[in-house]
Amino acid sequence: MNDSQPIEAATTSIQVPSGAPDAKTRRYDRQLRLWAASGQAALESARVLVFPATATATSILKNLVLPGLGHFTLMDDEIVTGADAGNNFFLDGFKSIGKFRAQEAVKGLMEMNDGVDGVADTRNIQEVLKSGAQWLKSFNVVIAHNVDSVILEDLAALLWPDTHLVVVNSAGFLAEFSIHYREHQVIESHAETSASLRIDQAFPALLEYTMSLPLETMDITDHAHIPYPVILVRALEEWRREREQAIGPSSGKGYPATSAEKKAFKERIRAMMRKFDEENFEEAEAQAFKCWTPTVIPLEVKELFDLYPPSSSTSSSPTAFAGLVSALSQFSQNNPASPQYPSGLLPITPTLPDMKSSTEEYVKLQKLYRAQSEKEKQVFREYLNKSLVDVDDATINLFLKNSHALKVLKGREWKESDPGPRELLTDKLTSCPKEAATHLALAALRKLKAKDKPDRESLKDLLTAEAQTFLPSGTELPEPEWPIASGEIARAPSADLPTTAAFLGGLVAQEVIKMITKQYIPISAGNAASSENDQLGVCVVDLVETWTGTL
């Protein structure tokens, strides 16, 4: 698995000319190797509001302040109690008792990174919601920890859909969180699948080069250093020509399909060896499946073509992403840069994986791919220009490089996941009882808190009664999952444990960073293009057995 970035992309823009990186780059080196300068820039211009200043809330903020978030506001009108001073690392122990929680915590947080702008706001969230609510929309992300349902309802309605609301709930060893957004587009998904080399649909220059090599007579050392894509394209083309001669002209673009044909094809590659141990041919044989795995547009990408149909010019101007996808869709239908295979392709990748080869042959092949990639980029650009969106060259390159792994996620509105549609919850209680029971127990607690301070003795029964109201009447709560989840909550209904807080602090910050940088894939309620609505988009945590799950 490889989730690191090419470093040149990560650092060139903020590097001093002598080569050695500046102090800021050195400070952020270990994260730039993941999300690069582009991700860092996004993080540094983001604004996040967090409330109230609980141990969990400050733990989340810690993991945003350290990597260099642009601005945060911590909102809390309460005064530090002995309990707060005991479980929040960013308060100054008992010395903070009696002072404003927000102010004390911001002091502790700001110490860690003076590149971050942090503000303590000692107003009450409900009052802010009543007056000056629009200001809340100036944030990119608002994070609420253990806030009751009544406040969340108003807040969620206000923020939807432009400011992402992150709702975090915890009690003792149990926790859950969800991110509320309409749609989230990811170009740099850092997917582990690599782009197709189009062995089965070789572009003209590659095919021509491949067929021009005098395999029988060339220098034996050079022969042992032909890169495997060249060998495969050659073998496949020869196979196709023979077939065409045997069966007729229409058969010329097929590929070995039956297992006998595949076996024979591998033998054909072996037979091309001039010495028994030519490792490049061994590699070609191992990669032979690329000849009969047709290059297609991944389904997830194809679905996006319907999600962002080519712009009907009458509608309001499309976003950059929609414009790019629409240009991609048109490209996939007609790509004049690949005359033999004009449709059904994504723009070709300009980068090759490493392979057995001499430097010269590798660089030669790389140049062929780059040249083709440039050609296709021009085609793509023409489509893009028609869509009237203005996109810079760097974004186009990034988009093309990642076009096989684009991702568009959908989220749910808060009211759609608190606790969620009855039928869906019923299904989840059967399909993932542990996660669903934990989610229901935390939702029930949230509702109860809005009503009254519940009595601890009867809490388990109250939780059960509340959970029943979320479900179609007569739904059985699962055994033993429900007694366990409700029992854990009844044991520690208001405990913000330091370790649970720290665990959530990491998880939530990580997902928020993914949202802000638009890199990697955050939790979601599914793919935006999918018509399935069977996911809640809630991440559930149990720190007794130590598992996480997504509903």
Binding site: M1, S4, P6, I7, E8, Q15, G19, A20, T25, R27, Y28, D29, R30, Q31, R33, L34, A55, S59, K62, N63, L66, P67, G82, A83, G86, N87, F89, D92, G93, M112, G172, F173, H190, E192, M355, S357, S358, T359, Y362, V363, G487, R491, A495, T499, A502, G506, A509, Q510, Y520, I521, I523, S524, C539, L543, V544, E545, T546, W547, T548, G549
Partner: protein, 426 residues
């Protein structure tokens, strides 16, 4: 209460944690003694060792302090580097160059009143068994395979069947970018670190002939500079990957080579990344894994809830994916597997006689064994030179070779790995 004042245990300090310690939950062992007993153990008796004060270590120390552990020791041999500051949150710019263990300990003691953190600026290998025996629990936040193997083997070896206190739970965490794992090791009972060595990702290594003759990637050019050119040009002078001048030299050489071969992408940062084998690291993943480790430490120390059995793996690249499973103990694990036999022999028995005994005994049945102690070879079958060198030992008495209570490691082609003998004299 004066005592409470001294401990800084102000009113409400443990409001959150005490909800757990005052009552059992649905998944709490029957043996849990809710209330003052468990609080006293946690806060006044438990002694915990943290190995590593880096990315995980900083988080671990803060979590333990807030959880109520008051006697914490921390070992780290490293000093603070500027690239630590994006996640090692107990360190500031002004601390660069100082000992991680010492700065972290001071920070925790200043921030969380009443906690004693004892730092050791040095290597784990400096400490002996008596040192490790004083702790109830050990938590590891290390980035080195070698150090982990060492502490794992040390804690497995520490287990003395006569002394329950000698079994120290080891909680191990590790991260790499958005990925991480936390695990609980009960030495000799559960799978140990060595049992899972084959789960580790192989570090990237390029064929040396590719580096020498057919570079294709910028990494190949960098390895050429560091593996071949550095020793050729600098002879025995050791390369210091923390020295920016050395990195700059390597970068210059690698860049020139890349230019010669038309390879793009050699940068200073990539050079540094390749030669230092830099693994991306972020605050959030460290926070998750450290929290999980400390949560297990808290549950094990207090018995307040079931604990992780025994491996938690997290992959945060696509959503939040995690997998909790029981990693199985390996019977042929070189550290915790294999058999151990107690042998009571006469002090004047010769080594040769002992070997005959091993070969003849029905319950052992070893063919052609080789024997050694932790410090020396007793008898090696092969190669001939070693056989010759150790042959004189065959005629020596056992008591002249090893002390009473000493241990002998036996290997043989017929054994899955090795057998250990506890020798006592009659």
């Amino acid at each position: 209460m004066a005592d409470a004042q001294e401990n800084h245990d102000w009113e409400g300090r443990y409001y959150h944690i005490d909800q757990i310690l005052d009552a059992p939950g649905p998944r709490t062992d029957e043996g849990f003694m809710a209330g003052e007993g468990v609080k006293d153990f946690l806060r006044n008796q438990a002694k915990i060792l943290v190995i590593g004060a880096g990315g995980l270590g900083c988080e671990i120390l803060a979590n333990l302090a807030l959880s109520g552990f008051k006697d914490i020791h921390v070992i780290d041999m490293d000093t603070i580097d500027i690239s630590n500051l994006n996640r090692q949150f107990l360190f500031r710019q002004k601390d660069v160059g100082k000992s991680k263990a010492i700065v972290a300990a001071e920070f925790i003691m200043n921030r969380v009143p009443g906690i004693k953190v004892t730092p050791y600026f040095g290597k784990i290998q400096d400490k002996d068994n008596d040192y490790y025996l004083q702790f109830n629990l050990v938590i590891c936040g290390l980035d080195s395979v070698e150090a982990r193997r060492w502490i794992n083997a040390t804690l497995v070896n520490l287990v003395d069947p006569e002394n329950p206190e000698s079994l120290k739970p080891l909680i191990d965490g590790g991260t790499e970018g958005f990925k991480g794992q936390a695990r609980v090791i009960l030495p000799t009972i559960t799978s140990c670190y060595e049992c899972s060595l084959d789960m580790l990702n192989k570090p990237t290594a390029f064929p040396i002939c590719t580096i020498a003759n057919t570079p294709r990637l910028p990494e190949h050019c960098i390895e050429w500079a560091s593996v071949l050119e550095w020793p050729r040009v600098h002879g025995d002078k050791k390369m210091d990957t923390d020295d920016p001048d050395h990195i700059t030299w390597l970068y210059t050489i690698a860049a020139a080579r890349a230019k010669e071969f038309n390879i793009e992408g050699v940068t200073w940062s990539l050079t540094q990344g390749v030669v230092k084998n830099i693994i991306p690291a972020i605050a959030s993943t460290n926070a998750i894994i450290a929290a999980s480790c400390c949560n297990e430490a808290f549950k094990i120390a207090t018995s307040s809830a079931a604990y992780l059995n025994n491996y938690f793996m997290l992959i945060g690249i696509e959503g939040v994916y995690s997998y909790t499973f029981e990693h199985e103990k390996k019977s042929n694990c070189p550290v915790c597997g294999g058999d151990s036999v107690s042998l009571s022999i006469k002090p004047d028995m010769t080594l040769e006689e002992l070997i005959d005994l091993l070969t003849e005994r029905q319950d052992i049945q070893i063919k052609n064994p080789s024997l050694s102690t932790p410090t020396k070879q007793l008898y090696l079958r092969a190669p001939p030179q070693l056989e010759e060198a150790t042959r004189p030992n065959l005629f020596k008495t056992m008591s002249s070779l090893i002390p009473d209570g000493g241990e002998v490691t036996v290997t043989a082609g017929t054994l899955p790995f090795s057998l250990s003998l506890d020798i006592s004299y009659t």
